[in-house]
């Protein structure tokens, strides 16, 4: 297969192993009796998965744009569908983000999930398989299978272990994404016939499509991915899903699932449909800027902590789509880094919400005041995540947002100026939240709360380390992206637009 470097490392079938390992864990759960053991199986599976995923970074060759660690096995001959996986600089960090967050999610559910622990852990691990699969798949059918497979465990996570209105939220989530998926499926099938009767993603990327066809395909892809991101006005499932989902569900949803939409734009929309992408850029950018400001204003109005962070996600993902669709190197690399950053930071914020919900059983900001006194460690973590989220220099998000804004400034000064308003608003809603949660006098209820224990700290500390690591030494994180991002421009037939 062209553009794929087969895996010749010391770990054969590494990606397949990563995709399959969580399912092995699921199978093992059938053989263990008590729930404590189930938790351990889940944790060790996810933990080993994470360790096994580290070689992806260590052995990744940042100079190559091709898919690395590739594996290609014929699967169905007619129509020709092969099991093809591989990663490049675009998917690398998303795979690692997934494998990092899954064990964290297992730990944060340790005491929070009390009923049907086994099923919960199964859903979580199936989820991991599907997520890693989506980022690795190089064949459209394979991709679609993983893409859809992801929906079901997520649907169950919200619908079974969620809050009071979980059914409504779960079905809303499912319907939105299903509607998108349907269009995605149609687009895939059209591509199959127009791109030379193949489902090979890389071959379809190399193929040429007429301009009117590109337009149709672009909008089909757009709806599918915009729902996932979610972009304004397809975002209303997100706050409901987040509010109802258990903590682990929220973390996975915000940190990984939302990235699938942005990943789709980068993997399919831009390189396959360059003419349409250039043509419709203004529309997407307008929606991105609306998302940035709208999400920020919405976050300002929330009294529910989870909703606030959910809307902040809409705003932050607006920066990601903005960076992608200004179609220049700074913008796209910033967007890619921002995808990773958002996963780390918003994941951390949702963990923080979960920790406090476990103690006070309320997500209302008004019920959780003055936490600095009884829970200084918690307050410190919350402040760090909030500062990272508002893009303070020295933290991860600054580098990402800076690159995105530089990229968008090159494209249009007005758009950059509007997006910059978003970072002012981010400071407003995040610090206002910190002020109301962490500062002030503790209430009678919150005064007696216990601070974070070591187990809880262990879920947050890796994310905090990453926040500063990316913020202070971003180069190791940016380096693997360069070649792959440059390749997007090659595929689009022109080099990144620079001043």
């Amino acid at each position: 297969m062209q553009d794929v470097i087969l895996n010749t490392t010391a770990l054969p079938h590494l990606l397949t192993l990563l995709i399959a390992l969580p399912l092995v864990g699921v199978a093992m759960m059938a053989f263990v009796k008590d729930e404590a053991a189930v938790k351990h199986v889940a944790f060790w599976t996810a933990g080993i998965e994470f360790v096994l995923s580290l070689p992806l970074y260590l052995w990744f060759d940042p100079a190559r744009y091709e898919m690395q660690f590739g594996e290609v096995v014929p699967w169905i001959t007619k129509p020709p569908i092969s099991y093809a996986v591989g990663i490049d600089g675009i998917s690398l960090w998303l795979v690692l983000l997934t494998t990092l967050l899954t064990p964290i999610c297992v730990v944060c559910s340790w005491t929070a999930i009390k009923s049907r622990v086994r099923e919960f852990m199964i859903a979580l691990l199936v989820m991991e398989t599907a997520m890693v699969g989506v980022f690795c798949a190089l064949n459209f059918v394979l991709f679609y299978v993983f893409w859809e497979a992801m929906l079901i465990p997520m649907y169950l996570l919200i619908g079974v272990w969620g809050g009071v209105d979980r059914i409504y939220a779960a079905i809303k989530f499912f319907l939105y994404t299903l509607a998108g998926s349907l269009l995605l499926l149609i687009a895939i099938i059209v591509l199959y016939f127009q791109g030379g009767q193949t489902f090979d993603i890389l071959a379809l990327t190399r193929a040429q499509y007429s301009e009117p066809l590109q337009a149709w395909l672009f909008w089909a892809f757009f709806v599918a991915f915009a729902v996932k991101v979610p972009m304004f006005p397809f975002h209303t499932w997100l706050p409901d899903a987040h509010v109802q989902a258990p903590t682990a569900g929220s973390v996975i949803l915000a940190s990984v699932l939302l990235k699938m939409g942005a990943y789709g734009f980068l993997r399919f929309s831009l390189p396959m449909l360059p003419d349409a992408s250039f043509r419709f850029t203004p529309v997407v950018l307008a929606l991105s800027v609306i998302a940035i400001l709208y999400g920020a204003y919405m976050a300002l109005a929330q009294s529910d902590l989870k909703k606030l962070i959910a809307y902040s996600s809409v705003s932050h993902m607006g920066f990601v789509t903005l960076g992608i669709f200004v179609i220049n190197t700074q913008g796209i690399e910033g967007a890619l880094l921002q995808m990773l950053n958002h996963g780390v930071t918003t994941g951390g914020l949702f963990l923080c919400v979960g920790l406090i919900y476990e103690r006070t059983h309320s997500r209302q900001i008004a019920d959780n005041g003055g936490l600095s006194k009884p829970m200084p460690r918690y307050a410190a973590c919350l402040v760090i995540f909030a500062l990272s989220s508002l893009g303070l220099p020295g933290t991860n998000s600054f580098v990402g947002e800076f690159l995105v804004l530089v990229g968008s400034f090159i494209y249009s000064k007005t758009i950059a100026a509007l997006a910059t308003l978003g970072i002012i608003l981010a400071a407003v809603y995040l610090l206002w939240m910190v002020q109301r949660i962490a500062f002030g006098v503790p209430t009678e209820k919150t005064a007696k709360l216990a601070d974070l224990n070591w187990c809880e700290m262990a879920t947050l500390v890796p994310l905090i380390i990453l926040i500063f690591w990316i913020g202070v030494f971003p180069n190791p994180f940016l380096a693997p992206m360069h070649a792959s991002v440059a390749h997007i421009f090659d595929a689009m037939g022109r080099v990144g637009v620079l001043p």
Binding site: P79, E148, G159, V160, I167, Y168, A170, I171, F174, L175, Y176, L178, L182, L185, Y192, F193, Q197, P233, Y294, Y297, L300, A301, Q302, T329, Q330, K373, R377, A380, L387, L392, P393, F398, V399, F402, L403, L405, V406, F409, A416, A417, T420, L421, I423, I424, A427, V428, L431, W432, V434, Q435, A438, F439, G440, V441, P442, P474, N475, L478, H482, L498
Partner: protein
């Protein structure tokens, strides 16, 4: 060697931050004793390194760049974490580490016994790191890291007493108002990058001439927005008075001597761009002049000792902006330095007063303190004389130089604004001195017998600062006389392009300069005498005047209602927009979704019928999917949304059908 020592300057306090920060997070493994030694010790080391660097720079005034490491890059954008050492940096380094060190020492006494002692010093050191990055950075991004970093530390330290709601609010306000400025600064950075393709100062200033005037103007204005936010100039001044919620050493270090002067530093650093945009420079001057007077008038009637000083700081920063606006960049930095001495002195001695009075800050409940805390009184007197423009003290030299430069260069209106502000300054500072230290004691009875002079650890830094406030101005006049002192010669390479024109005008107006000095001196004396008359000779006068000028008094007492206006104009509407969007989301978008869903519901019913009667028999797969989905749904105990379930089933069925159908088609063709 040079590179190493330069790099170590910010690294020392950084190490102290890490140690003290971890100590706090891990539950206080070592004592306060070790914590404060680490804190001030690291700043002392930075100070010594700075002195060494100054020594090196005296011989080689040309800028030298020290690259710590390549921070990030993307395509043709490369950003290094690197430092620029030139005379301006050296001066700023000495002020930041020198005054910073004294304030750290003072804090050991002032914060003694506080619960958050170690946390306090961790924040203070983090501030030092950020401030050092700010003044040392060799490009705009490093400046910006420091810029936002000092904002963060300001936020953390204003909110140091986090259980006080007013402190928490003031902290948020400070950060948000600063962020508005920061956004402008960011845009300036992008504009610079778009015009020059680099963000390194030396490259940019060398090529500044190629900038067209429109671009220069927009960069200058965006930078000014940043400067106005950080230096609390109109219209973004509102956060600084509230920032007095922080502990007093914080007010001295961050909100008087160093951080708030960052805007002035930035304008001077970018003078090459401002020189190309005379209109922008004029705006800088007007902002400065108006702010100087505006804040000084508010200072006339404040009754909180720290708030008087806060408005005084805003006003003095206005003088520095005024200086930049008339092209007197060296004078701006000169005033920055002398102001750092006497304002730090004033804040710290105010802190000593507050310390003596068990936390009392209202000057109406002070009075007659001079005999009870004589050392504090002595240094406060020196500070007051220095800021009010008593001849030959530091403030007199620097302020006169600014006003003289403004007048000589024909900026008469700006001169008048500055001169009036100088009168107000002399008045409100003398008033503060009289009301606090002289006259009858109005101290509350239970506080009265606790009054005590501060410990030596607090007094010694005050004495050093008092000494500097007295003689600090001499660096501006020795050895070459007015505007030819060491300070000017040292900084000349930095502001060369601007200095050339100034020199000539100065020669012509030599006599004029002396006359102006006499005038401003008289203005200062008049301000002091008015205060003397009001608060010593005729103590009933202030109340009479207050009654006679009720309107004006209420206006300035309420700080021109700027806070209230901003609340009405921005804060409330902002929240209202959020709320209305929230409604739009549920009432608008969600309703559309529900409508679409209802239509789908109908068609789903149709397709279910088709499914049942046409396809079901044919495709077992579909039936199985149907069955599976139904089972899943039953477990979810759905009752209220059964119609959703119907679509779900229908959707799955359609999907599976489509996949099978197309694969079959594909296989057939």
């Amino acid at each position: 060697m040079f590179d190493l020592i330069v790099t170590l300057i910010p690294v020392f306090p950084l190490l102290a931050v890490l140690a003290n920060g971890l100590n706090v997070m891990l539950g206080h493994r070592y004592s306060h004793e070790i914590a404060h030694r680490l804190a001030w010790g690291s700043v002392l080391l930075s100070f010594l390194c700075s002195v060494w660097v100054l020594g090196q720079t005296l011989g080689h005034p040309e800028p030298r760049t020290v690259v710590a490491y390549r921070w990030f890059f993307g395509a043709d954008l490369t950003v290094n974490l690197s430092f620029l050492i030139d005379p301006l940096t050296c001066i700023m380094l000495l002020v930041v580490t020198g005054v910073g060190f004294l304030i750290h020492v003072y804090s050991v006494g002032y914060m003694h016994g506080e619960e958050g002692f170690t946390r306090f010093f961790a924040y203070m050191n983090l501030f030092m790191v950020s401030m050092l990055l700010l003044v040392m950075g060799s490009n705009y991004v490093v400046l910006f890291i420091g810029w936002e970093g000092v904002g963060l530390c300001s936020y953390l330290l204003i909110g140091y007493y986090y259980d006080r709601v007013s402190a928490a609010k003031a902290a948020t306000k400070a950060f948000v108002v600063n962020r508005i400025g920061d956004a402008g600064f960011l845009l300036a950075i992008f504009l610079v990058f778009a015009n020059f393709g680099t963000l390194e100062y030396t490259e940019i200033f060398a090529r500044a001439g190629q900038l067209d005037s429109a671009a220069a103007f927009s960069i200058a204005i965006c930078l000014l927005i940043g400067a106005v936010g950080k230096s609390a100039q109109l219209p973004l001044h509102t956060w600084l008075p509230d920032a007095m919620e922080g502990p007093t050493p914080v007010s001295a270090l961050i909100h008087a001597a160093t951080m708030v002067t960052a805007g002035v530093y930035m304008v001077v650093r970018n003078h090459a761009i401002y020189d190309l945009a005379p209109d922008a420079l004029l705006i800088v001057g007007v902002v400065g002049g108006v702010t100087a007077l505006f804040a000084a008038t508010i200072g006339l009637v404040q009754t909180d000792i720290k708030r008087v000083l806060a408005y005084s700081t805003v006003s003095q920063l206005g003088f520095m902006f005024l200086a930049c606006g008339v092209g007197a960049y060296v004078a701006a930095i000169f005033h920055l330095v002398t102001h750092a001495f006497f304002k730090a002195l004033l804040f710290l001695s105010a802190g000593s007063v507050i310390h003596a009075l068990s936390g009392e800050q209202d000057i109406r409940r002070m009075g007659g303190l001079w005999s009870k805390i004589p050392k504090t009184h002595g240094v406060f007197l020196v500070g007051t004389a220095a800021i009010a423009g008593f001849p030959f003290l530091s403030g007199w030299w620097s302020k006169d130089e600014i006003l003289g430069h403004a007048f000589v260069h024909g900026h008469y209106v700006l001169w008048a604004l500055g001169a009036t502000a100088a009168f107000c300054t002399a008045f409100y500072m003398s008033r503060l001195l009289y009301v606090t230290f002289y006259g009858e004691s109005r101290v509350a009875h239970e506080v009265e017998h606790h009054i005590h002079e501060s410990p030596n650890v607090m007094v010694y830094p005050l004495l050093v600062l008092a000494f500097l406030s007295v003689v600090g101005g001499l660096i501006g006049v020795i050895p070459g006389g007015l505007e030819n002192g060491w300070f000017h010669q040292f900084l000349q390479p930095v502001v060369r392009s601007a200095g050339a024109g100034g020199e000539a005008a100065h020669e012509e107006g030599h006599l004029l300069v002396y006359i102006l000095m006499a005038v401003t001196t008289l203005i200062g004396v008049a301000g002091w005498f008015t205060a003397h008359y009001f608060y010593k000779l005729k103590p009933e006068q202030p109340d009479l005047l207050m009654n006679r000028m009720k309107g004006a008094y209420t206006l300035i007492l309420n700080k021109y209602w700027v806070d209230e206006a901003y609340d009405k104009a921005f804060v409330e509407p902002g929240k209202a927009v959020g709320r209305s969007f929230d409604k739009a989301d549920t009432a608008g978008i969600d309703r559309v979704v529900v409508a679409v869903e209802q239509v789908t519901d109908l068609s789903a019913a149709g397709s279910t019928w088709v499914e049942k009667h046409v396809i079901y028999g044919g495709l077992n797969v579909t039936g199985y999917a149907n069955h599976l989905a139904a089972r899943v749904l039953r477990r979810l105990q759905s009752g209220l949304v059964h119609h959703y379930a119907a679509i779900l089933v229908a959707g799955l069925v359609v999907l599976v059908n489509l996949i099978v159908l197309f694969l079959w088609l594909g296989g057939a063709s």
